[in-house]
Symmetry: C2
Subunit: 398 residues, 2 copies
């Protein structure tokens, strides 16, 4: 074991069975593999993960698939055959974690639900991610990202004031559930050190959106405020939004009294400091509609980069509103080594770990696997010989 790799691979030694597709499940197991877990992705023979069919492609591989399936090995298994199920049971017997994001009930009907898996391996941590969770009146309804964003209220608070609801520009309905699943699974790994027992983690995409909206929901339930779309504005803090300048827009944030003082001085609007309407944070937030035109008048008179310079010198939080091409050229992004190449797929660049671990970027990501690329390797680890593997392939199990 390479000591350098081990230092940023704290999950080395954990075996993860990944019966996931599209995004929520794969995102969860991407994180686990990134941190060193041995992730075995189980895919349908022939087509594999639905995401493999999503454009655009690079060298015939889907970029959508590749991005969240690094650091995994792929085995094909037809789970509708008894032989396929038996291989999965054998894999379950030696795994620490299983993550699946099929619709609620699918794994049970295959005889591979949590109770089945627990009978094989009581130490298994089994995580199911679904649109609405494994229980309740909606449990059998299908849900994809836009459904989770719509049904949860997330779209109702994203977009321009008075305009139509907008979807968050990434699939946050999927991604959030993948992240919450990773948190719950890793907590269960810790619990297992004490209890010796596995756990069942049942993650609902709809509930995860509510957890992201904890503030909006609390304001409605406990203060009677109905959260709505606010463009770039924060509901509780002002000024905390984007402003148009004479050229490009600028984002700024003034959250504390010292920041407010520095902000007004930097913009040359000291008179606002004496204006009783804006005397403290809650007042500025309540009167944002009076404050905003005053600041619009200031920002419209100058260029973005000049404002950035003045506000940065005054230590006021501010930034350009970068496009994706712009952020990929950003010197901070380069310094942090956020954009990574994996050795087996040279020339292709991905977003890597969003944190440094023990003083440097998390390294050693491996390329996303071709469909069934590790069939022989994984089956050999289970003790199957090449004759048996050829037979399984012939009868359509792999």
């Amino acid at each position: 074991m390479n000591a350098q790799i081990a230092q940023d691979k704290p999950l080395q030694g954990l075996k993860v069975l990944d019966i996931t597709h599209m995004l929520a499940g794969p995102y969860c197991t991407w994180m686990l593999g990134l941190m060193g877990a041995d992730v075995i992705k189980v895919e349908r023979p022939g087509e594999g993960d639905f995401a493999r069919a999503i454009a655009p492609f690079r060298d015939d591989e889907s970029l959508y698939f590749m991005s969240v399936n690094r650091n995994k090995r792929s085995i094909t298994l037809n789970l509708k055959t008894e032989e396929g199920k038996q291989i999965l049971r054998d894999l379950i017997a030696q795994s620490d974690i299983l993550v699946e994001n099929n619709r609620a009930g699918v794994m049970d009907r295959l005889g591979l639900g949590y109770q089945d898996a627990r009978a094989i391996n009581p130490r298994l941590i089994y995580a199911s991610i679904s649109g609405y969770g494994q229980t309740g009146p909606y449990r059998h309804k299908p849900a994809f990202d836009v459904i989770a964003q719509a049904v949860s209220g997330m779209m109702s608070i994203t977009g321009q004031e008075g305009g139509p609801p907008a979807r968050v520009g990434v699939s946050i309905g999927d991604i959030a559930s993948g992240l919450f699943a990773a948190v719950a699974v890793l907590a269960a790994v810790e619990g297992r050190h004490k209890s010796g027992e596995g756990a069942f983690v049942d993650v609902s995409m709809m509930d995860c959106q509510l957890a992201l909206m904890e503030n909006a929901v609390s304001r409605y339930l406990n203060a009677g405020e109905v959260p709505v779309r606010l463009g770039s504005r924060h509901p509780l803090i002002a000024p905390f939004q984007s402003f148009n300048t004479a050229d490009q827009p600028i984002a700024i944030c003034v959250d504390t009294e010292p920041q407010w003082h520095r902000f007004c001085h930097a913009l040359g609007v000291e008179a606002l400091l004496d204006d009783p309407r804006f005397a403290d944070g809650p007042m500025r937030a309540a009167r944002h509609a009076e404050l905003e035109p005053l600041l619009n008048a200031v920002f419209s008179q100058g260029r973005r980069d000049d404002f950035l310079e003045r506000l940065e010198a005054a230590d006021v939080p501010c930034s350009p509103i970068n496009s994706i091409p712009e952020v990929t050229q950003d010197p901070q992004v380069a310094h942090r080594q956020v954009l990574v190449e994996v050795p087996e797929a040279s020339g292709i660049k991905y977003v890597g770990a969003p944190f440094h671990y023990n003083g440097g970027p998390v390294s050693g990501e491996t390329a996303p696997p071709a469909l069934g690329a590790h069939n022989e390797e994984i089956l050999a680890e289970l003790g199957l010989d090449s004759v048996r593997i050829a037979e399984l392939r012939r009868i359509g199990v792999l």
Copy 2:
């Protein structure tokens, strides 16, 4: 220990020092406390966490603060005094995890940075969350949510097509970094079982936004596509968006060929199935601009609830675009017990855990603490007697 509580509290026994404020840090430690960790929140005497000043209030407590500071104890400590630092060092000596989201360099200047803490407790897992990370040219810049959303490109891909950039309706700049920090910290807890050593986790809010945008960044870097704002539409899948009907809008998602067939039959537009322009998923995505008006014409002729009924019967993912009041009344949300009350703060409702753990909702959340509510209790655990505690209060350490 209550067996019922223990079953859904896998982090019981872990001690967490929380030197956080506002949102990113508190969100991370909310998750840890929810799962059973003993979280001690260290706050400035007098004012405490900046979030305590953010409106709206309920019984003089900030709802913003309360929502993400459940399941914690609060101690006030003036970290600019030697006595305050010594108490923090004593707490570090017996903690498993420290989470802080001060600006990069602040903890080092206090003599309480990772190297200082490690000298006291080499098993400590120390997580720093900041706008841009602890390294690089932007490391000292201040950043709050809207800055992270702007600088990362997230705002550039959220909002209506051709309209201005919109902020994601929740503080995803903060929340995502709190979730990634929780993942990295819990992975480090597992790593410590093998190495016996702690770790330093350096989380960048900007990098976390990039990790949410993994698909958009990959499409730009590897296929030359410049991701832009698309309203409610998915960049790669169609139809996957909201449509206006004769009354309320509806969200739908058609991702697979069987879904496309069921969708066309349910809407009575079987002719589309024979239209060569829409023969498969990539073609429908590429020609969404031709497909969308055809579907608009259909949806404009009926009522949302009728479409929901037909599409649900056909097993096509669909939903209303709920407001926050609507989602809080949803029967699935009620069934999942996502909205929780904590006993000490009756009448106040929060969003609880977005996952069930071992068959039921995560229970036993405790009320957010008043500022310094646990000063005596925590200091007594460190062996300080009431005379010394009174002295510390007198000289302004607490």
